[in-house]
């Protein structure tokens, strides 16, 4: 089965889900909305009823069944594609099928999680609610019949469910197909691939130049450094993204013999000893330093915390790394998340798992407080209070003196002063100075009284590094790694192990 065939079938299933969604919404609206003189009353009670649509749909057995069917269909599609990949690779090496079965469980488990996260319907519910409330708020009022007709336009004619799905279905199928292929070839020790997929009118120049040609993996890896229209803006991985967005090409991994036959110069360019003297027989370690591709899939999952949507948006609408999103999705959520004004600061209480975030300080503060929650509110022991943390703290204490040429206060002050994005870097330094950086030099930090308290240094370092990783600002991460490399690694590893 090809990806195009799968997408066609997926579309007909999302269409069915869209039809069910439309009927369920209408059914609910007719039953729950208060109408007077044939006009929907625009009052708090009706707005609240509309705002409950997502909860009602989530509880609706028929709708849940349709959604489950769709998820199962997509997962089965991924399974079929992977089987085809292993069979295809077995033409080069018969061991591919066996190896495929070995790596398959891990890939499928990952796919289950990704599909689950991608089928989060929050954006669709929000769109339906927004449209319904906008229609109800019309000055001249609106009848139930008109609301029905208008919603039909908004949901059915504008095809909102299908449009939402079409954004990621192709990527899901193609990326898992490429991941499967890459995982198997690494175990087989294949380092050559043919760039396949043909050419059509819209084929990018990048793909045209490479189509049907043989490449060594070190050449493929170098595509990271090239630039062309359509290349993924963030986190491009040449082994799974190839020509970029919506690229229909694939890498067919082949044996050295076939590579030498198709491109004779590989014998000179990449002699046997360059790779491994026995690579065709024995699985060899990947000679190129690449992260496991399975961890780099870029179909971004989303978060739904169950409180004000703005908190979800802080995570979903920004460049928050997938690592953080997965951590948030895996761990227990706070019991309460709310906003506060300027009169009081943001805070977190581990005993009640209560998170309060100052509205005007935006996403950065929210990430910081969420970092406290991950550290203090998600397991029996606080993640930042242990001997390993203390060892890393002491290492970084020495490191700071070295990398700042013995002038740490001046160095850090120059880096962070007046730059809000460096608040976390400044506060970690304040922790190192026991609050002196804040109280004596008026820099961002919690101050002496706070840092005199047992373990507050640990808590704040963890929360600040969580905030820094979440914000994903290249310059800030660079400075953090320079000043506090050991603590940064400590928190990063802790998050990866969740």
């Amino acid at each position: 089965m090809t990806i195009d065939e799968l997408i066609k079938q997926t579309k007909s299933r999302t269409q069915r889900l869209q039809d069910v969604l439309f009927l369920k919404v209408l059914d609910y609206v007719v039953k729950e909305i208060y109408v007077k003189d044939d006009t929907i009353v625009f009052n708090q009670s009706n707005i609240a009823a509309i705002n409950r649509i997502d909860k009602i749909l989530e509880k609706d057995k028929g709708f849940a069944r349709e959604l489950r069917t769709l998820k199962r269909f997509v997962l089965n599609g991924v399974r079929k594609l992977l089987q085809d990949v292993y069979v295809d690779q077995s033409r080069e090496d018969i061991r591919a099928i066996e190896i495929g079965q070995e790596v398959n469980d891990r890939i499928i488990k990952h796919a289950v999680r990704t599909i689950d996260q991608m089928t989060n319907l929050t954006p669709i519910y929000e769109e339906v609610k927004k449209q319904s409330i906008a229609l109800m708020s019309k000055y001249e009022g609106i009848s139930l019949l008109e609301l029905r007709n208008q919603l039909s336009t908004q949901i059915e004619e504008k095809n909102i469910v299908n449009k939402y799905w079409s954004r990621w279905t192709y990527d899901i199928y193609s990326q898992y197909e490429r991941i499967g292929s890459n995982e198997v070839r690494k175990k087989l020790g294949f380092v050559f691939a043919i760039y396949e997929g043909g050419e059509i009118e819209t084929t990018r120049e990048f793909c045209q130049e490479r189509n049907r040609k043989v490449f060594h993996e070190s050449e493929i890896q170098k595509w990271i450094d090239l630039d062309w229209d359509g290349k993924n803006d963030i986190g491009y991985n040449p082994f799974i993204d190839l020509g970029g967005y919506n690229c229909r090409h694939k890498l067919r991994w082949i044996s050295r013999d076939l590579a030498e036959y198709k491109r004779p110069e590989v014998t000179v360019l990449f002699p046997m000893e360059f790779i491994n003297s026995n690579q065709a027989q024995q699985p060899i370690p990947n000679p190129i330093e690449t992260k496991p591709i399975i961890e780099e899939i870029k179909i971004k999952p989303t978060v739904s915390l169950g409180f004000d949507k703005k908190f979800d948006n802080y995570i979903n609408e920004n460049e928050v790394p997938e690592l953080i999103i997965n951590v948030i999705n895996k761990l227990p959520k706070p019991n309460e998340i709310k906003s506060t004004g300027v009169r009081k600061g943001s805070y977190y209480i581990p005993a009640t798992k209560r998170l309060v975030s100052r509205d005007d300080k935006g996403k950065e503060t929210f990430y910081h407080e969420y970092g406290h929650h991950v550290d203090m509110g998600t397991s029996d022991k606080y993640r930042s209070v242990n001997d390993l943390f203390d060892i890393n703290y002491k290492k970084d204490l020495e490191n700071i003196k070295t990398v700042t040429d013995g002038k740490p206060f001046e160095y850090v002050a120059n880096i962070v002063k007046g730059k809000r994005e460096f608040d976390g870097v400044s506060d970690i330094f304040d922790a190192f100075t026991g609050g002196l950086f804040r109280d004596k030099y008026n820099m961002v930090g919690h101050g002496k009284k706070y840092y005199k308290m047992k373990n507050n240094k640990n808590y704040e370092v963890y929360a600040n590094i969580f905030q820094i990783i979440s914000s994903n600002n290249e310059k800030v991460i660079k400075e953090t790694k320079l000043l506090y490399p050991n603590l940064y690694e400590f928190v990063l590893n802790d998050l990866k192990n969740i």
């Binding site: 300080k361 204490l397 740490p408 001046e410 008026n442 961002v444």
Partner: protein, 76 residues
């Protein structure tokens, strides 16, 4: 308790803090509540000098919050 970084560097000290100490003959009670809002904290200190009323962030907490804070169970 983890050790502090010690340095004898000379930087511009916090003038508002100095002004506050000169006025009240004691340090303001800053508990980290506004740790990432230097401007707001400066303004709060200046207001307290102007109004001749000591600045105490601890007093902004409720009784329950004070107890949690003192036990290290409320973090900012």
């Amino acid at each position: 308790m983890l050790p502090d970084l010690i340095s004898d560097e000379k930087l511009t000290i916090n003038e508002i803090n100095e002004k506050y100490i000169k006025h009240f003959n004691k340090e303001p009670v800053i508990i980290g509540m506004f740790w990432n809002d230097v401007k707001l904290l400066d303004q709060n200190l200046l207001n307290s000098i102007k109004e001749n009323k000591e600045y105490n962030e601890y007093e902004l907490l409720s009784q329950e919050e004070k107890e949690l804070y003192s036990k290290g169970e409320l973090v900012f």
